[in-house]
């Protein structure tokens, strides 16, 4: 094509829109007229080729001339004192979810973070983390993170963006910022609070909106009704003898869950002669991980659940709750009395807790009950809000949408979040946002919202950022970066500093400014102390002595109760829908995280997908089975979803997990699950009735890691009630077939030095999955993808087995972490033809990857089926950025090699070297396996069983101690403590511990 042709072509236009300089239209036009679409349709001639190549070379030269920021570089002429290659350093920082911080220590190998551990000093962590914190590492190295500032999909620079933003801000100054809106999630950051104040000073009319899928709006509104103001509520489970959870998954999700699990499980640790134990009732509208741990679990549809909560509140003597009369059917009535009595007997030592996603009425009932029972100030602590400027998220978002629709918003900055994806469907956020003339999205990766904004700005990961945040109890942490932003991302603070017109625009300067004001004298010492410890000592929010406003609560209850009566009438033709954030990918922010996608969800053991969860009875009535595709219809909105039949799901309730079906996401999340948001309206954020379900006759494939639900009468998970344990302490050991006297022609193995062993306390395990992700991170375990999981080839060295027991409608569920048993008579060892798996001197069953030829005989012969085989080349050895992720102490395996749990042998060896150098004996608890270190409830204990004083050796003497499949004479080194539950004797004694809970 010659020059003149091209200029001619440029004169023509294809529609009026193309001539309009309106940026909003340009956004819509983009997919049709992709850049360069009109160039060289019939190949290149020589001349044009030379032109293009010449230009490319010139640009390549220019591209290399990116101006580097002026920063001091210190060459390693004299290396830093602490830096020894091969020896990691640990830095304290924090990670946030929903604004709340959990303190972490990050392991850094020569400048790259490789593993995240909990910070023992941090009150929300105490050394453990949840699954999300473990997986944050993979997010940091996500190859699909955005790598450049984009304007209408074209690469621009941060400076180019500032050249647009700053004039736009200047234009707002005379308007006092009336057209400026900022939308973000919750935050607890003192620096952000200070920045917001400065922005207000510059733009008094500007507004800051907040929205998150898990908004905790219910709790906020309930505190508003109960105390007349926003307050924060936190719990002290170490003070609770009886806990009633109303749809609360406090053990595995939400602010403080790690701490809660620790405190809660510490109160349930029974040993010989130590029988004190708390009791947990769960009344829930969809099965949760916490429900799996409960001593009694009632599975009720939302309306019945609310009625039950009313009845309980009445039983506790809460005003204004008696209007509903008896709680319904006879069984429910009995439960009301039993739980009510239990609560009253433990007044002041109990907790009623509603879930983070629960609606205001449930939260208010819980608060009122806690107040009535005298728990406030003891086990339930009310304090000043910890979030910055708490507000109702849905109200805030609604205001924003209204303003945008009215054309009052001229500049919208979306900081994180993904409202285009997760805003309630009825608000039509996307259409409203399209009216804003200038909108920018600061986001971790290009997502649905970036697509609808003019500017996409890469957000730096929390491990790359200076910031600060507060724990669930208010303790402040300063977050420090472990690494420079890999792809040039910016933090929220850096963007807000521009908006505020501050001079400090560097992350560290911004955060230091806040803290210089706060710390005052002796800044340097204190600052260093804070960074070192990861927490600001003594900064937790003190207890706030507040009176409950009984009248406004009574008003609330009366209003809710009158609405409730018709809802209790069950209509058979329609179903109720319950929305929950997903237990692994959360609200969708982790959709591109392979570790979390491949993490089997509690109860369903599904990976890579969400599903419409149905009770077995409901599914049978509708003629549906697993993997059947259905169309769900709520009002005029429709969604297509696969069915998963879940025992324990309340009848006629469909649970949909949010966070899936992302339209614009990286390579991992693409195509995973369905998007349930179209059914979720601002009136029914948590649950809604009137859902219609229509089978489509199609089928989809889901990847479930455990196909068998029953234990087949085998004594793998052993459990008993507290009274059983008291009467027959050895009940668990008697359940097995016993071990035959070892008969062998060969002399036994002598373990003269140390003998490693592990005990898993089934009573303490919450099934939270943190250990599984920790194991992935520590041991470079590859992600295999949905198709391979469907074939049964997931690589997790540590899996959590789940078994149902009792009826399909109302089962009890038990969970069991299973890793390599490191058998003393390991069946895998003698069958390997090349000796690639051998017996270590200290009893470790060692896997020699280099020697493995891959016969898979060892895996076949392993009765526990804990060995994992690289059927294909699973580890990604090509993607550059993922190479930084690997733990340098652990081999990255190639295809054709067997692998399995090693008891984190690299950690054992590190300590072995250390103590040899220091010439001292091993201290018990000095070596922590990755799963043990991360476990919030201390359910995994590792150590030397030859040392009679070690914790693990003592636990092996407990009457609850048993090994699985011991009758095969494998002599496992990984053993278990039987689970002890504490059912209410009123209810539980008759049927023992099992299957006695009847919800409806």
């Amino acid at each position: 094509m010659s020059e003149s042709d091209r200029t001619d072509a440029a004169r023509y236009w294809r529609g009026l829109e193309e001539r309009t300089p309106d940026a909003a239209l340009q956004v819509q036009l983009r997919p049709e007229f992709t850049p360069q679409a009109d160039v060289a349709p019939q190949g290149l001639d020589r001349r044009h080729f030379m032109q293009v190549m010449g230009a490319s070379f010139a640009l390549a030269g220019l591209g290399a001339c990116t101006r580097q920021p002026v920063e001091e570089l210190v060459p390693y002429a004299r290396p830093p004192e602490d830096l020894v290659p091969g020896r990691p350093l640990y830095f304290a920082t924090a990670l946030t979810l929903g604004g709340f911080a959990s303190g972490v220590l990050v392991e850094s190998h020569t400048g790259r973070p490789t593993k995240i551990e909990g910070n023992p000093e941090h009150p929300s962590s105490l050394g453990a983390t949840d699954r999300f914190a473990q997986a944050a590492l993979l997010d940091l190295y996500d190859p699909d993170r955005s790598r450049a500032v984009l304007h209408l999909q074209r690469i621009r620079s941060w400076e180019a963006f500032l050249q647009v933003l700053e004039p736009a801000l200047e234009a707002q100054v005379p308007l006092q910022g009336a057209g400026l809106r900022i939308l973000s999630g919750s935050s607890t950051s003192p620096t952000l609070a200070a920045q917001m104040q400065r922005i207000r000073a510059r733009f008094p009319q500007a507004r800051w909106h907040r929205y998150e899928t898990v908004s905790r709006d219910g709790l906020r509104s309930a505190t508003l009704a109960a105390f007349g103001r926003y307050v924060e509520v936190r719990y002290d489970f170490s003070q609770a003898d009886v806990v009633v959870a109303l749809d609360s998954d406090f053990l595995t999700t939400g602010p403080g869950c790690v701490r809660y699990a620790k405190d809660f499980m510490a109160r349930r640790r029974v040993r010989e002669g130590q029988y004190g134990m708390s009791r947990l009732y769960c009344i829930e509208s969809t099965p949760s991980a916490t429900g799996a741990v409960a001593d009694h679990r009632l599975s009720l549809p939302p309306a019945q659940q609310l009625a039950c909560a009313f009845a309980l509140a009445f039983e506790c003597g809460v005003h204004g709750t008696g209007v509903l009369g008896p709680a319904g059917a006879g069984d429910l009535e009995k439960w009301r009395q039993i739980i009510g009595l239990d609560l009253r007997e433990h007044a002041g030592r109990s907790i009623v807790i509603a879930g983070d996603e629960s609606p205001v009425e449930l939260q208010a009932l819980a608060l009122a009950m806690n107040q009535r029972l005298g728990n406030l100030g003891r086990s339930v602590i009310v304090s000043e809000p910890i979030e910055v400027e708490p507000t109702s998220h849905i109200g805030s978002l609604r205001d924003l949408v209204q303003d945008m629709r009215a054309g009052q918003v001229e500049l919208l900055l979306v900081l994180g979040g993904n409202p285009v994806y997760d805003a309630p469907a009825d608000l039509d956020f996307t259409a409203a946002m399209a009216k804003v003339p200038l909108r920018a999205h600061l986001a971790f990766a290009e997502d649905e919202t970036s697509e609808s904004c003019h500017w996409h700005l890469p957000l730096a990961h929390e491990l790359e950022t200076w910031s600060d945040a507060r724990a669930h109890d208010g303790t402040v942490s300063v977050m420090q970066p472990l690494i420079d932003p890999l792809f040039g991302g910016k933090s929220m603070h850096e963007l807000l500093a521009v908006v505020a017109g501050d001079k400090e625009r560097n992350g560290i300067d911004i955060v230091r400014r806040t803290w210089t004001e706060r710390l005052g004298a002796d800044f340097d010492t204190r600052w260093r102390r804070i960074l070192h410890d990861g927490v600001v000592a003594g900064s937790e929010e003190p207890l706030l002595p507040l009176e409950l406003q009984r009248d406004s609560l009574t008003q609330l209850f009366l209003g809710v109760a009158s609405d409730l009566a018709p809802r209790l009438e069950r209509r058979n033709d329609s179903l109720e829908v319950v929305f929950r954030v997903d237990p692994t990918v959360h609200d969708g922010r982790f959709a591109n995280n392979g570790w979390l996608q491949e993490l089997p969800k509690p109860w369903t053991r599904l990976t890579w997908d969400n599903a419409a969860l149905l009770a077995p009875a409901t599914a049978a009535r509708l003629g549906l089975a697993n993997e059947d595709m259905v169309e769900l219809e709520q009002g005029t909105r429709k969604v297509r979803a696969p069915v998963w039949v879940l025992p324990g799901q309340p009848e006629d309730v469909v649970t949909l997990h949010l966070g899936y079906g992302r339209r614009r996401v990286g390579r991992v999340g693409t195509g995973a699950g369905f998007d349930a948001h179209p059914l979720r309206t601002s009136a029914g954020l948590v649950h809604a009735s009137g859902l219609r379900l229509r089978p489509t006759g199609e089928q989809v494939k889901l990847a479930c890691t455990q196909l068998q639900h029953a234990m087949e009468g085998r004594h793998l998970v052993r459990e008993g009630s507290l009274s059983e344990f008291r009467d027959h302490p050895h009940f668990a050991q008697e359940m097995g077939h016993g071990v035959h006297a070892p008969t062998s022609l060969y002399p036994g193995f002598e373990y003269e030095g140390r003998a490693w062993g592990m005990v898993v306390d089934l009573g303490a395990c919450t099934g939270c999955n943190a250990c599984v992700v920790a194991c992935n991170a520590e041991n470079n375990i590859p992600v295999v993808g949905k198709a391979q999981v469907r074939k049964g080839r997931e690589m997790h060295w540590l899996r959590i087995d789940r078994y149902f027991e009792g009826s399909a409608e109302d089962p009890r569920v038990v969970q069991q972490p299973v890793m390599c048993m490191h058998c003393e008579n390991a069946p895998c060892e003698p069958v390997c033809p090349v000796g690639a798996t051998s017996h270590g001197k200290e009893g470790l069953n060692e896997m020699v990857y280099n020697r493995c030829v891959g016969t898979r005989y060892c895996a076949n012969n392993c009765p526990y089926k804990v060995r994992r085989f690289n059927f294909l080349q699973y580890a990604d050895q090509e993607t550059e950025v993922l190479k930084m992720l690997r733990n340098p102490d652990v081999t990255v395996r190639t295809r054709g090699v067997m692998e399995k749990c090693t008891y984190c042998v690299q950690r054992i060896n590190q300590t072995r070297i250390q103590i040899k150098k220091e010439d001292r004996p091993l201290r018990d608890g000095e070596i922590l396996t990755a799963c043990q270190q991360v476990c919030p409830s201390d359910a995994i204990i590792f150590g030397d069983i030859n040392d009679p004083n070690s914790k693990v050796a003592k636990l092996r003497q407990q009457p609850l101690h048993y090994g699985i499949l011991e009758e095969l004479n494998t002599r496992p080194r990984t053993t278990y403590l039987a689970r002890v539950t504490n059912p209410n004797p009123e209810r539980g004694a008759a049927a023992g511990h099992a299957g006695d809970v009847r919800g409806h």
């Binding site: 455990q706 196909l707 068998q708 029953a710 234990m711 087949e712 009468g713 085998r714 793998l716 391979q788 074939k791 049964g792 080839r793 997931e794 899996r799 087995d801 789940r802 078994y803 069991q816 299973v818 069946p827 003698p830 069958v831 390997c832 033809p833 090349v834 000796g835 020697r851 493995c852 030829v853 891959g854 016969t855 898979r856 005989y857 895996a859 076949n860 012969n861 009765p863 526990y864 089926k865 994992r868 085989f869 690289n870 059927f871 294909l872 080349q873 295809r895 054709g896 090699v897 067997m898 499949l965 095969l968």
Partner: protein
Amino acid sequence: MATETRTTADSPLVAPGHTTATVTDKIAAVVLQSTPRWFYPAFGASFGLLMLFMYAVTILFAKGVGIWGVNNPAGWGFAIVNFVWWIGIGHAGTLISAILLLLRQKWRQSINRFAEAMTLFAVACAGIYPILHLGRPWLAYWLFPYPATTGVWPQFRSPLIWDVFAISTYALVSLMFWYVGLIPDLATLRDRTQNRIARVVYGMMAMGWRGSAAHWHNHDTACILLAALATPLVVSVHSVVSLDFAAGLIPGWHATIFPPYFVAGAIFAGFAMVITLAIPLRAAFGLHDFITERHVRNMAKVMLATGLIVNYGYAIEIFIAWYSGNEYEQYMLTNRVLGPYRYIWYSLILCNVVATQFLWSAKVRSSAVAVWVVSMFINVGMWLERFVIVVTSLTRDFMPSAWGMYYPTRFDYFTFFGTIGLFLSLMFLFVRLLPMISIFEIRTLLPKARAKEKSA
């Protein structure tokens, strides 16, 4: 088998009217005549399957065993099923050549040559699988005890190492036996062929055989010695293969009956395959005079006898599962009969138990077509038996949480049918290049030869 001595007075092993010259003519003609027209499509089809095999193996080496259906509970699938199946088929040859030779069973002489060839080809097919199924097949040589610079030896406790020895020994001895037996006939072909190249090749292979008395004497001694060497192998090879399973602790594997049960199964399968091949070949080349109805009857009887031992093995497995009182063993049985792979088990019973019983009838035994049909059932049944042992046991063992399913992929089928292609291609080449019936041994069956023997 012992009953066979009784049948010496039975119909003759070579049809009446043959002389040494006609026997030689007739058998050598199969090789020396021009290629029959049906041969091209038949060989072409086999060769096509062989090419499919090459394709499947290329992809396998490029990508890994993940292209197959093997997974976490079922670490072994089609590859091991096929391996055991082929090894089993490879058993008839040695049995016929060694044990029946020592037992002076004259009737073996018309079938031993191609039974031995079949053995070799089946062992070749079997031997491929243990290498293909490795995660890292290029390291297969680590299974051999060679003096490595690393100082690392194979692990002699592993049944897979015993396999390496058992199978390589078996393959070598079978090859030697077969080749030694071929020498006089190679000399015959050398003398008879019109083609110069063939003459040179056969001549070199005949190793200067002139048919002198000293040659015959040495040849006889070598055959008897090799037979004595090969005899224990008949028992050992499949016993060792069965130990791959019996030494494991998976319910359905861990059984003391496995070695004898596998050996009987192997002979059962081997004879079935001999019949499967012999009857069509006999028809194609008109060799009814040498492979007579009596041969078919005898082989049917061997199949019946070994089949009954196999059936006894099934019964004992069921009995022990119940009698042991072991819940895992009991579940293993429940799973076979009622589990997700129950139809495989039902088909196995149909093929190996029900179909075998037809051989009780003398009428069935005298009908070549009927015996051939039964042998086909047995070929399938023995494959299914190995599937039941390998896959059904592995997919549901001790931990219900780890139970799974095994679904073969198209590459599993490609490889399986591919080795059948390899086997048939080799078989077709053998039939056209070497005398498929031992010429010199048939000569000894002629009445004339017998008269000489008697008078001597």
